[in-house]
């Protein structure tokens, strides 16, 4: 199989302008099967916009998007459900595709919200709703997952478990993931490729490359770059029970 066939979505110098203001411009990135690409950057740097360009939600864009799959799962950053709709979690799971009941149960189990299956969507807490959103996106076994701040409002232990789940899904389903996260710790442990945005691509590469980048340091500060180093550090040795350090 050639490299091209692994590509799920490719942005070529893409940008989007709204009311004569560039939300983001000049973004090039590729999401491949089994790989996690993470977008980081300060508020208003164009992370969600980039995701929406990749998804084809924004149509009048500069540059181009090549999309090679229609099996897409999306967890948007903001979503509000109207009370005029009587909608249970179960109905919501079937929103864009008719999937089998077992697949629904499996996904809800994975994100720990199976007990909410027959609850009304309007009665869920923020964290519960977020878990349902993730379950819905993964239940259809997509080839491309786009997760925009997927664990917002989830409690701390749940956050770690969900990121582990996301990593596992990318391995088991061999799907490509475009992740937007402000949590640098997670970004660095699970990501293959990091794109740091600030209205344009300020730097990109492996987590370690980005951590060393000077623009990244000025954007996020010295401390952020230390976080990365700590994680990179973890990869080349393990701690034994007694606290001794063993080189890999």
């Amino acid at each position: 199989m050639s490299l091209e066939n692994n590509t799920l979505v490719k942005l070529n110098n893409a940008g989007f302008k709204q009311n004569d203001k560039w939300l983001v411009e000049g973004v090039s990135l590729t999401v491949e099967k089994g790989k996690i690409v993470t977008l980081i950057g300060p508020n208003g740097s164009g992370k969600s916009t980039t995701a929406k360009i990749a998804l084809g939600i924004y149509k009048n864009i500069e540059g181009s998007v090549e999309k090679y799959t229609n099996k897409v799962g999306y967890v948007p950053q903001k979503i509000s459900i109207d009370w005029t709709l009587p909608l249970r979690v179960h109905d919501f799971m079937l929103l864009t595709e008719n999937i089998k009941d077992e697949a629904i149960d499996e996904a809800l189990n994975l994100t720990g919200v199976i007990h909410l299956k027959n609850k009304n969507l309007g009665n869920l807490s923020g964290g519960e709703f977020q878990r349902v959103l993730i379950a819905r996106a993964i239940s259809k076994k997509p080839e491309l997952l786009v997760l925009d701040e997927p664990v917002q409002g989830v409690d701390y232990t749940g956050e770690i478990a969900l990121y582990e789940l996301i990593k596992r899904i990318s391995d088991t389903l061999n799907c490509g993931i475009l992740l937007i996260s402000h949590d640098l710790h997670t970004v660095m442990t699970a990501t293959d490729h990091v794109v740091c945005l600030n209205g344009h691509v300020c730097c990109s590469g492996t987590p370690m490359d980005v951590a060393k980048n000077n623009e990244y340091k000025t954007l996020f500060g010295e401390q952020a770059s230390q976080i990365l180093s700590v994680y990179e550090h973890k990869h080349d040795h393990v701690h034994s029970d007694k606290g001794e350090i063993k080189k890999n």
Partner: protein
């Protein structure tokens, strides 16, 4: 037992209720009640054109309503006016144009009351054919676009991102709205068609916890309203449209009791 005209009115009304039930749910969910009003106001112009050129009323109303819907979509794109202002603009100007045209058509005697409020005496066998084949077509198309339409009603970006083409579904739904107004205008009257769409759906909302249930109850509510309304229309010699809508209102009020009860249960 009953006169022929009454049997015809019953068959027509039940056919209309089967279609307005599911469509009405979308009108409630997508907040389109004023859009429905605008289309039905423009139907008057459709009726006058039908009389002037001696073409079928349902067809003419359908065409004019579709044109008005298209104009609305264009105005929404090209102007900065808020949606409700545009709806009002189109509703009242098309109503005005329709009334002025009626003024010119002095050679035809119009039953304005029948046009506005519906007339069970006016339903012909041809109308039944139009209502039932048109209605079946509307339901078939609705079933076909259900998934993208419903998904984009819940969240437009999710539907778009996951490849459901919500814009096409929305455009088709607009045409369906024009069609349902066209087939029900004789029976319910152009002032009250939106009521037929909204009130049974609103009643159903009070009784349901899932979209499928709401559609089902909305259909049942519409059928009951037609039955109750038409029998009382016959009994008390009232216009068919208002009688049906009043029956729907009674059902809606009864459904409020269900809400009260479920709130009590929660506490």
């Amino acid at each position: 037992m009953f006169d022929d005209f009454f049997i015809r009115a019953l068959i027509a009304g039940l056919g209309i209720a089967l279609v307005t039930g599911p469509l009405g749910c979308f009108v409630v969910w997508r907040r389109l009640s004023y859009f429905g009003d605008t289309l039905s106001h423009s139907a008057l112009l459709g009726v006058t054109i039908a009389y002037s050129f001696e073409i079928n009323i349902a067809l003419s109303v359908f065409l004019i309503s579709s044109v008005v819907a298209l104009i609305l979509i264009q105005l929404q794109k090209k102007t900065n006016l808020p949606g409700d202002a545009l709806l009002g603009l189109l509703a009242h100007s098309s109503l005005a144009v329709g009334l002025v045209v009626i003024g010119f058509l002095t050679f035809i005697r119009f039953d304005i009351m029948g046009l506005l409020f519906g007339d069970i005496l006016a339903v012909t066998t041809d109308d039944l054919l139009i209502i039932w084949t048109g209605g079946a077509l509307i339901l078939l198309v609705l079933k076909f676009i259900w998934k993208p339409l419903f998904a984009s009603t819940v969240n437009y970006e999710l539907a778009e991102a996951e490849g459901l083409n919500p814009d096409r579904a929305k455009a088709i739904f607009t045409i369906l709205m024009a069609a349902v107004i066209a087939i029900s205008i004789k029976m319910v009257g152009l002032l009250l068609i939106t009521g037929m769409l909204i009130i049974p759906a609103a009643m159903a909302r009070n009784l349901s916890d899932s979209p499928q249930k709401m559609v089902l109850f909305s259909i049942i509510g519409g059928l009951l309203s037609v039955l109750l309304g038409l029998f009382s229309s016959l009994e008390f010699n009232t216009s068919s449209g208002p009688s049906i809508i009043m029956a729907a209102l009674v059902l809606f009020i009864l459904s409020l009791l269900n809400i009260k009860q479920s709130i009590k249960l929660k506490n």
